[in-house]
């Protein structure tokens, strides 16, 4: 046995591990309870050094994917490692550790190229936290954000010069009272100051008021000010906030027309409001309603004009908005919803507000509250990245070096929903600015602020925390005291709370959202049982949150600090307001407006409420993933997913998006794998989508790494619900979907089972094509038997479909699914008389290869052709003997991808397979019928895009309003689909 000198004994501390190289073999040395052990240093799973790992309880945990080995025996202890690590004999003599490599090393990997991972990780941090003392930091904008940032810079120990530049002539103040106490006169402006005047001097902050920045030069690190001076900066915070959106109608500049954003605005309005005055508030958002509430208190006659169908429509569920509307009405406010202002009229001052429907509202005072626009122009002109606000990272840094942004103007990444947000709230302005200031001062702390809004109006206190979405599960609780709360959940985690006079619900919500803990909707709803009668009704909100009843009896004002709530950033860019513009034609289902097919907002809602809502979506055939470890890439709606078969044969579907940095990690069309490893940072997932390993999760040398409470169980891939029938795999974002059989209904199920008749499927191949048309046009095409003989003259010319063929167009009870069916003439061959008839139709035209349209009877069905449209993304094609499933993958409103998987059955003879392949010439993007459908859909979309704002006529067969019809000259199935679609989208 040959012993190698490995290291000095004192080099290995108790409970520690070091790496050594022995004759080119990487070896890890450990000391446990005084004894030294040696193992090979490279993990048996993937290439990582165990000496960079974590030694605990006699086990070494690999830094890459948390595989564990017993260092004494080398035994592999947990997934993902299965092969043990080589161990070596050790002896310690005279203070020196000797290792014998006599037992051969199983791995022959060289470690020469492995860089120390510690260095790179800390370099960036070190650079960013360099000492900032002695510099000048400039803050643009002296509002809530700017003021708090200046204060926070000092609190963080920044000793250099701080200059706060503000456009208004007053030091920073709080805006929420402007719409409340200031208007009612209960408080003066002095009570709104952010800090008492002397405090600015104590903090040694230079206030440059009545001054605005004219230009930022990020290269030279200077700001040019409106007074002509040039201000060099070491670091810069842009906290320029937002300005009131102006109403673009004639007369909007008349005296008597007010906006409310600044202290001067507030004082001006207070002086104008007097008892008996007629006030018209344009905009039923939070500012408008708070002004209305205050004006009511002053004895004004108040009218609120809102162009949407409900006040607060973009922020709150309908029930909550309605509850506020009720309170407002009780207070004497006249609410005009669905009303658009076209002009303000008057001679010396405003006298009349004119509405689009011709109504004239007499007014002494008009207040316009229709949202705000971020003041990002300075930053944009300086080349700083912006998109409806200045983009910042979690530290508040913009795309320009040493330039930060915070508050109303900043768009920051929100972890919980994985989205970028721009929030317009007191809370966000303050907290984000403080976080940015700390970053500027070198104390890097990511801003993970949970959105929080607050409003007081008509005696009710309303709060919202988190980022609830319409598709979330909702639990509702309310008590006789009048308080109530809605808890929004996704994947059993709380995403948001909306509460009336229930601050306890908000505190609870904040805790649960920020901890990411699993919640039980029933327990949430029941939590407060001691307050008397409690409504415990956990319900599923999708697809329409506003369908839920909400028992709201707001009581007296809470005693918490008043915080203004404004509308969240509006991501819509087309300026169209949903419920205002999306009005279905009065004629009903016989007219379908173009925006159904061309509008981005409608498409967004479709993805949210249909594809990601309560639907079963086709994702794969089981025959594509027959063996354990098989996977295939697929889509659910537009969302990329992976379909896998796990070790136990079960099928799993999850989003193809790494839980870490969103990378679409799986790039192969299909294959076989033991696990999925994201190539970016090597996060690894098992076949079920569970997170298994996070490289350097424990950091290196006790530095860096994930937070201590990080749990892989909380960070798996987004998993979807799966079901299968007869070899066809479906998935859903909804967790409690009804069984597929119920979803399809008896008629559709019968036809589904007729095609998937129990024989094992055999995949023959794929077609994939794009179609420059809306995805619903494909459903309509197959719910439209009218087109079959008209567009597809091939069918008529060659005798596949002739007058007198038996045919049917069936729908399920909901109208969303359908089957178009026809039976070839008796006997499977083309009837001789019919053929003669056809020849007469097209002289001299016969097929040289008539096998193309032969039908080999193989199904227990009266139909030789069925086309099933299974909502929302599947077509099952049984065209004679050519069989396929077609998956619709929408790509926005104006195009979609069609993925065709053509199949036969195990046991098909070679000739039968070739028959199916020959018949394949009928369908697909090169099929005699298929190509025509694709072309026609392009023509339809072209027509809508080039002659826009029109309406389709879908009026055939008036005897059947919507649903199955006994004539083919009918569009009743299309109407049935839109009946369902309108319900799903709430239109």
């Amino acid at each position: 046995m040959k012993w190698h000198r490995a290291a000095m004994a004192e080099a290995v501390e108790e409970g520690g591990v070091i790496a050594v190289d022995i004759d080119g073999t990487p070896v890890a040395l450990y000391r446990l309870d005084g004894s030294v052990y040696a193992t090979h240093n490279v993990c048996t799973h993937q290439f990582a050094l165990l000496s960079d790992g974590y030694l605990e309880d006699g086990c070494i945990e690999c830094p890459l994917h948390q595989g564990r080995f017993d260092v004494r025996t080398g035994k592999a202890l947990c997934a993902p490692v299965s092969e043990g690590i080589r161990t070596y004999a050790v002896r310690v003599e005279g203070g020196v550790i000797f290792v014998s490599l006599d037992a051969p090393v199983s791995s022959d990997v060289s470690v020469a190229d492995v860089a120390s991972p510690a260095a790179a990780a800390s370099a960036d941090h070190a650079r960013r936290s360099s000492d900032a003392g002695g510099e000048r930091f400039v803050i643009l904008g002296a509002g809530q954000a700017g003021g708090r940032a200046a204060e926070a810079l000092r609190a963080a120990g920044f000793a250099g010069e701080v200059v706060l530049v503000g456009e208004e002539p007053v030091p920073p103040y709080e805006r929420p009272p402007l719409s409340k106490e200031i208007l009612t006169g209960k408080a003066g402006v002095e009570s709104c100051a952010l800090l008492a005047e002397p405090r600015w001097r104590e903090l040694d902050i230079v206030l440059r008021l009545s001054t605005r920045a004219a230009r930022i030069d990020t290269t030279a690190h200077v700001v040019a000010l409106s007074d002509g001076s040039i201000l060099p900066y070491g670091k810069l915070l842009v906290a320029t906030g937002a300005r009131a959106r102006r109403l673009a109608v004639p007369g909007a500049d008349l005296p008597g027309v007010h906006y409310l954003r600044t202290q001067a605005d507030g004082l001006g309005l207070r002086n104008a409001l007097r008892s008996g005055a007629r006030l018209v508030v344009i905009g039923g958002g939070f500012i408008g309603l708070e002004v209305a509430s205050s004006a009511c208190d002053l004895g004004c006659a108040v009218t609120v004009v809102e162009q949407e169908a409900r006040i607060l429509n973009r922020i709150l569920p309908a029930a909550a908005g309605d509850a506020i509307a009720e309170r407002a009405a009780e207070a004497g406010v006249r609410l005009l919803t669905g009303a658009r202002v076209t002009a303000l009229e008057g001679t010396a001052a405003v006298e009349v507000v004119r509405l689009a429907d011709g109504r004239r509202l007499e007014a002494d005072i008009v207040v316009i509250g229709i949202g705000v626009i971020p003041n990002q122009e300075l930053a944009v002109e300086a080349g700083i990245a912006a998109a409806d606000g200045i983009l910042v990272d979690e530290y508040g840094q913009t795309s320009a070096p040493d330039v930060f942004a915070a508050g109303d103007v900043a768009v920051y990444p929100y972890l919980v929903r994985g989205r970028r947000l721009r929030l317009e709230s007191w809370h966000n302005a303050q907290e984000q600015a403080i976080a940015a200031a700390r970053s500027m001062a070198g104390h890097l702390a990511p801003y993970r602020g949970t959105p929080w809004f607050w409003s007081d109006q008509f005696g009710a206190n309303l709060q919202m925390i988190g980022l609830p979405q319409l598709t979330d599960l909702v639990a509702c609780r309310s008590d006789l005291g009048g308080s109530s709360a809605l808890f929004f959940m996704s994947e059993s985690r709380l995403t948001g709370v909306i509460a009336f006079d229930d601050p306890e619900a908000i505190r609870l919500g904040r805790r649960l959202i920020e901890s990411g803990a699993s919640v039980d909707p029933v327990r949430l709803a029941e939590r407060r049982t001691q307050s008397g009668a409690t409504s415990t009704a956990p319900t599923h909100a999708a697809p329409r949150m506003d369908s839920e009843p909400m028992d709201l009896e707001p009581k007296g004002r809470g005693d918490e600090t008043m915080i203004s709530l404004q509308q969240p950033a509006d991501s819509r860019s087309d300026g169209r307001s949903p419920s205002q513009a999306y009005v279905w034609p009065e004629e009903g289902l016989v007219r379908v407006p173009d925006w159904v097919y061309t509008d981005e907002e409608i498409y967004r809602r479709e993805v949210e409420r249909i594809f990601h809502g309560r639907t079963w979506n086709y994702v794969a055939l089981e025959a594509e993933i027959p063996n354990s470890g098989d996977f295939t890439r697929s889509f659910l709606g537009p969302t990329p997913i992976v379909v896998t078969r796990a070790e136990d044969g079960s099928i799993h579907v999850f989003e193809n998006r790494c839980a870490h940095r969103a990378a679409e990690f799986c790039r192969s069309l299909r294959g076989n794998a033991k696990e999925f490893v994201c190539p970016y940072h090597q996060w690894s997932y098992d076949l079920r989508g569970n997170l298994v390993g996070v490289p350097f999760r424990r950091g290196v040398d006790n530095k860096g790494g994930m937070p201590k409470d990080f749990s892989t169980a909380d960070h798996g891939l987004r998993k979807l619900t799966v079901t299968t029938r007869r070899g066809v795999v479906f998935a859903s974002y909804a967790e409690d979907m009804e069984p597929l059989e119920n979803y399809l209904g008896p008629d559709i199920l019968r036809e589904f089972d007729a095609t998937f008749d129990g024989r094992k499927l055999k995949v023959l191949g794929y077609y994939r094509n794009t179609v420059p048309g809306n995805w619903k046009l494909y459903h309509e095409n197959l719910k439209d038997p009218y087109h079959a003989t008209l567009l597809h003259t091939f069918l008529v010319t060659f005798g596949l479909l002739v007058a007198g063929n038996k045919s049917a167009m069936m729908c399920d009870a909901t109208g969303r699914h359908g089957v178009m069916a026809s039976a070839k003439s008796e006997g499977g061959g083309v009837d001789a008389d019919r053929r003669k008839e056809m020849r007469a139709y097209r002289e001299g035209m016969t097929l040289k290869e008539p096998r193309l349209i032969d039908y080999v009877e193989e199904f227990d069905s009266p139909w030789s052709v069925t086309m099933q449209t299974i909502w929302p993304n599947l077509i099952v094609q049984r065209e004679l003997n050519t069989l396929g499933v077609r998956q619709i993958v929408p790509q926005g409103p104006n195009s979609f991808v069609m993925n065709w998987t053509m199949f036969g059955f195990e046991g098909d003879s070679d000739e039968m397979i070739r028959h199916r392949l020959r018949q394949g010439n009928l369908m697909g993007p090169a099929g005699f019928l298929g190509l025509e459908d694709n072309e026609a859909m392009k023509f339809v979309q072209d027509g809508m895009l080039r002659c826009p704002e029109g309406r389709h006529l879908v009026a055939l067969d008036p005897d059947t309003e919507a649903g199955s019809s006994d004539t083919l000259i009918s569009e009743a199935a299309i109407r049935a689909m839109y009946k369902h679609w309108r319900q799903e989208l709430g239109l």
């Binding site: 995949v763 023959l764 077609y767 994939r768 094509n769 097929l847 090169a926 190509l931 023509f939």
Partner: protein, 172 residues
């Protein structure tokens, strides 16, 4: 994979060069017929028992047999030419074929000539100002001589691009 199909050595010598010129002329004429859009002439490039298949490389590599177009015998090609000419509805368009990188294997016993070529097919829709790439791929061909003239016994068009833009109307 496509690259697995090897050609031991290109056809050389005077005969080899002459054959190569003949095949290039054949492909140029084939392209002209399709680019001119007269489908009636297209089946004449094939033998009576020829196969013509257009399929995605995705299928070819996985040994999946489907074809976007799948013709067994000249009769099916004539049917397609007729159906497209007489019954099919599609937006007017021009195609332009570019056929390059011809590889010819030495002729074996029986006289079947194995050859491959790359192709690029540009499509110009009449309502769009610019042409777009409709397909890029490879012909995998078997030629034989019929009465001395070259005819295709097999043309398999294997395209690289996964997606067909809207529809494939005219042959490749």
């Amino acid at each position: 994979m496509m690259t697995a199909q090897k050609f031991p050595a290109p056809a050389v010598g005077v005969d080899g060069l002459f054959l190569r010129l003949e095949l290039e002329a054949f492909n140029a004429e084939y392209a002209r017929v399709l680019d001119d859009g007269d489908l009636r002439q297209w089946p004449a490039f094939f033998t009576d028992d020829a196969t013509y298949v257009v399929t995605a490389r995705e299928n070819y590599d996985a040994n999946l047999p489907v074809g976007l177009i799948y013709c067994e015998g000249k009769g099916m090609m004539e049917d397609r030419a007729l159906a497209i000419r007489e019954t099919a509805m599609f937006a007017p368009r021009y195609l332009r074929h570019y056929i390059t990188n011809l590889l010819v294997e030495p002729v074996k016993d029986g006289g079947t000539i194995h050859a491959t070529a790359n192709y690029l097919v540009l499509e110009t829709l009449l309502d769009n100002p610019e042409a777009h790439i409709h397909q890029t791929g490879r012909y995998i061909d078997r030629f034989v001589r019929v009465d001395g003239a070259l005819r295709l016994k097999q043309r398999h068009c294997v395209y690289d691009n996964l997606m067909v833009p809207t529809s494939l109307v005219l042959p490749i």
